[in-house]
């Protein structure tokens, strides 16, 4: 128990150091944040323009889609800023610096996770939150404690899921050494996918994002429960409420695969 507490303390120390380092360049930080906010917010402008023209999307309204959009963007932003260490991990393998990490008497996961905390991602978080709040103001949801908790759990689930994807991406570099951008398709593409309800996609595409990369768990299924509607695709209420656990399980599995990867690691020697 004490060991875990100590690890958590160390993790926050890592984050603090990284944060202070970035705040040395305040103007740059501000500009990057605003830039990211605009770059990601423009997507919502597109969605808004389409709803202005078409009225609805297979029965879904703009505030409902905005809820999907807000949840997935907030979750992704949190994962991106906390998981930056895994994002840039392939450089460590390439340069051979991972050897040093292995020598320290701490878990590799803790050290890589604590390597960098990316403040710039607040841009995405801010616009995601703004859209989320706008959606909540326009949806007539009957709020109770369970629903509010489910909403938080869903955002958390999305963060876990994307974090897991970043870990997997980093793990692959144990075998390939090179950075593989192909997984960007699942992270950024997953965000893009999750911005809309799953019902609009083709069946094979839906299955992929439910059972392989479970974005449906971190978004589509629980949102149905929050909106208090029966799932048009036929998932049970029980499935809707327990779905957010899927994101967490995905992260746990990813971390296990990471451990296999570490055992497989052979230094490039440079």
């Amino acid at each position: 128990m004490l060991k875990i507490l100590d690890a958590i303390r160390l993790y926050f120390r890592y984050l603090g150091i990284s944060m202070r380092a970035q705040m040395q360049y305040r103007a740059s930080f501000l500009m990057m944040t605003v830039g990211q906010c605009a770059a990601t917010g423009i997507e919502f402008l597109g969605i808004w323009a389409l709803f202005a023209r078409f009225g609805s999307l297979r029965g879904w309204t703009l505030p409902e889609v905005a809820l999907f959009y807000g949840i997935i963007n907030c979750g992704f932003a949190v994962a991106e800023s906390l998981g930056r260490g895994f994002d840039i991990f392939p450089e460590l393998v390439k340069s051979g610096d991972f050897d040093r990490v292995l020598l320290r008497p701490r878990s590799t996961i803790l050290q890589i996770a604590g390597r960098e905390f990316q403040l710039m991602r607040f841009g995405r978080l801010a616009q995601g939150l703004a859209v989320l709040i706008w959606a909540l103001l326009h949806l007539k949801i009957v709020w109770d404690f369970a629903r509010a908790a489910l909403l938080c759990a869903t955002i958390g689930s999305a963060a876990y899921l994307f974090y897991g994807l970043l870990v997997l991406q980093a793990t692959m570099s144990f075998w390939t050494v090179e950075t593989l951008e192909i997984l960007n398709t699942v992270t950024y593409g997953g965000t893009e996918t999750g911005q809309y309800p799953l019902t609009i996609y083709r069946p094979w595409f839906r299955r992929f994002f439910t059972f392989v990369v479970p974005i449906a768990c971190a978004n589509y299924l629980p949102v149905g429960a929050i909106l208090g509607m029966a799932d048009p695709l036929g998932a049970s209420t029980w499935a809707q409420w327990s779905a957010p656990a899927g994101g967490f399980v995905f992260l746990l599995i990813s971390l296990q695969i990471w451990k296999v990867g570490v055992r497989h690691y052979r230094s490039t020697g440079s």
Binding site: S28, M31, M32, V34, G35, Q36, A38, A39, I42, E43, L45, G46, A49, L50, A52, R53, F54, G55, S56, L57, R58, G59, E178, L180, E181, I182, N184, T185, G189, E192, T193, Y196, I200, Y201, R202, F205
Partner: protein, 275 residues
């Protein structure tokens, strides 16, 4: 006495052509990046295709473009993605940062044209690598249609060349602005966003609200994506290709003059720290 003059002119162009060729061969080496780009673009196109199909299934109102036209438009955007002025020239950026830009001034070349040529190569080479496989796959499996007529196809091709010229004139402007901002962090983030939203990559411009159309008509971004694509799908009839081209050339000239003026001003105040 005529031929030496022409020969002289040809000789003046030669260094720029060889720059173009050399840069081209360098950029064609990045095949792995092209494969990754292909996967990403294909995935993106699929998502967008399903989204638009969903929207079109939800309305009975007449729209400025039909669904097959929009789907073709989306695939064209994915195939020609690399052609847009997305990024600053990383090498120019590094040169300005390190002060090595001073060497650029010593070259017996016109600096604006030299940077413009680099830009042309940087747009065309990756596009050639990436677009052909995507055209094939999307054409066979995912609803990318051929132009309705030969004349539409030819008009599209001409307008694509035009869009390349406008795009590079715009990119070069971004490069030149580095003489002031040095790092270009803000520009390299904000400008691509603007281009993405207003050129037709975000969604086909005719689908924007009607009040926005008047604004979009007065800015150069639609010349980079939207107009050539609409010529391709036949939403703009091929007979209007002339006016599209004229507009593209006019914007190219405006952006070029502005770029040259800006470059001259930037160079007159350029201080390179020795060392």
């Amino acid at each position: 006495m005529v031929s030496p003059v022409i020969g002289g002119r040809g000789a003046a162009f030669r260094p720029y052509l060889s720059i173009l060729g050399a840069r081209f061969r360098v950029l064609l080496q990045y095949r792995a990046a092209a494969v990754a780009g292909f996967g990403t673009q294909l995935f993106w196109g699929l998502i967008r295709m399903m989204i638009f199909t969903g929207f079109y299934a939800s309305t009975t109102r007449a729209q400025p473009m039909s669904l097959p036209q929009v789907i073709t438009y989306v695939w064209l955007g994915q195939a020609l993605f690399a052609m847009l002025p997305w990024s600053l020239d990383a090498e120019i950026r590094a040169m300005i940062r390190s002060g090595a830009v001073a060497y650029e001034l010593v070259r017996p070349l016109d600096l604006y044209s030299w940077w413009y040529c680099r830009c042309l190569a940087a747009r065309v080479a990756p596009t050639l690598l990436r677009s052909l496989p995507l055209f094939c796959v999307a054409g066979i499996f995912f609803g990318l249609q051929a132009p309705p007529s030969w004349s539409s196809g030819i008009a599209w091709f001409a307008a694509t060349v035009g869009s390349l010229l406008v795009g590079c004139a715009f990119s070069n402007l971004m490069n030149i602005s580095l003489l002031w901002t040095i790092t270009g962090d803000g520009i390299s983030r904000l400008v691509p966003t603007l281009v993405f939203a207003l050129s037709g990559m975000l969604l086909p411009l005719p689908l924007f609200p009607n009040w926005a159309q008047r604004i979009l008509a007065f800015i150069p971004f639609r010349d980079m994506v939207d107009l050539p694509f609409r010529l391709y799908v036949g939403q703009i009839p091929a007979v209007e290709a002339g006016s599209v081209l004229a507009q593209q050339i006019a914007w190219t000239l405006i952006l070029m003059f502005f770029g040259r003026w800006l470059l001259a001003r930037g160079l007159s105040r350029l201080v390179v720290q020795g060392g």
